[in-house]
């Protein structure tokens, strides 16, 4: 699934059968290659972060959680990466110093939250090619040929 597809998806609670918010964005740890949480908008509680382990299902139409209580404040999520590790908008740079473009999207496995690939325009790089992610760029292994 693409990050851009995931955004805007409603989040429902099984406890109350009601909406608890809408997916605004994915919180991605590029180095670990995982979606670690969802950031929500329009949520009912005080927090706006839904840790990935509390996602019961990431379906084609909706995200399901047990209860609205699972949506917490960012400060309560220990594993939440610093914003600098977010990937979208950063340069996708090979370790050979070639800029492949700005990261425009991320594909991930909705079952386990594993990041599959980073996309920059027409370029797509598998997540396991990622060497580092800093304030300027996501650095990936250079390809054998351009």
């Amino acid at each position: 699934m693409m990050r851009t597809e995931a955004r805007g998806r409603p989040v429902f609670s099984t406890e109350t059968s009601s909406a608890v918010g809408t997916v605004a964005d994915l919180v991605i740890d590029a180095r670990a290659g995982r979606v670690v949480a969802l950031r929500l908008t329009g949520n009912v509680g005080a927090g706006d972060v839904l840790p990935w382990q509390d996602v019961k299902a990431f379906g084609t139409d909706a995200v399901i959680v047990d209860s609205a209580d699972k949506v917490v404040e960012a400060s309560g999520v220990a594993a939440l990466p610093h914003e600098r590790t977010d990937v979208v908008g950063k340069h996708l740079l090979t370790d050979g110093g070639q800029d492949l473009g700005e990261v425009t999207d991320v594909s991930f496995d909705p079952h386990d939250g594993r990041v599959q690939a980073l996309l920059a325009g027409q370029e797509s790089v598998a997540a396991d090619e990622v060497i580092g992610c800093g304030d300027y760029a996501v650095v990936v292994q250079a390809r054998p040929q351009r």
Partner: protein
Amino acid sequence: MAGLVRATALMGRPVVTLSGDVVGQVKDVVYGPAGGPLRGFTLAGRGVFAGPRDAALPADAVHAIGPDAVMIESEERLTESGAVVDEVDARDRAVLDDKVVTDTGTELGTVCDVILRLDGVPQVVGYEIRANPVLQTRGHRVVIPVPDALPVSGQVLVVPQDAVEYACADLDGFEAALAAFRQRGGGGDDAH
């Protein structure tokens, strides 16, 4: 990709760690009094908020020089600029606008760029010259190859006369001209 690059093309290129952090941008290239291998780069601060930054990147700390960025392993490899730029005031050896004279006494023009080869340790392999009429049959700007080691004083650049025969109008074809020039033994004789 081609290993030849103009030094001015490197200036302003971001210097990025393999962790993805930008640590500055290339301000200038630094090489020793004998020319040849680069000592490294001086850096300017990153972004618009940074002031001048007295940091330098030794050549051996470079992971890769790409078309869009200079990659380094980590910020810890940066040094004080004094470690790269030695006591001799670097400005005294700044070659831009220096006159280029052959070892037979013909003035060829003035230096407008330095040509580097990036394979392995980056080194100076040629100069781009704003050509005097004597060279202008080959263009207003020509690239001439230089020997492995060529003394650089900052006043004048004395090049072997036979380098003129290998002058190119551009970097296209310069690699071949350089190889031919150096094979000819152009680096061996010293005119001084």
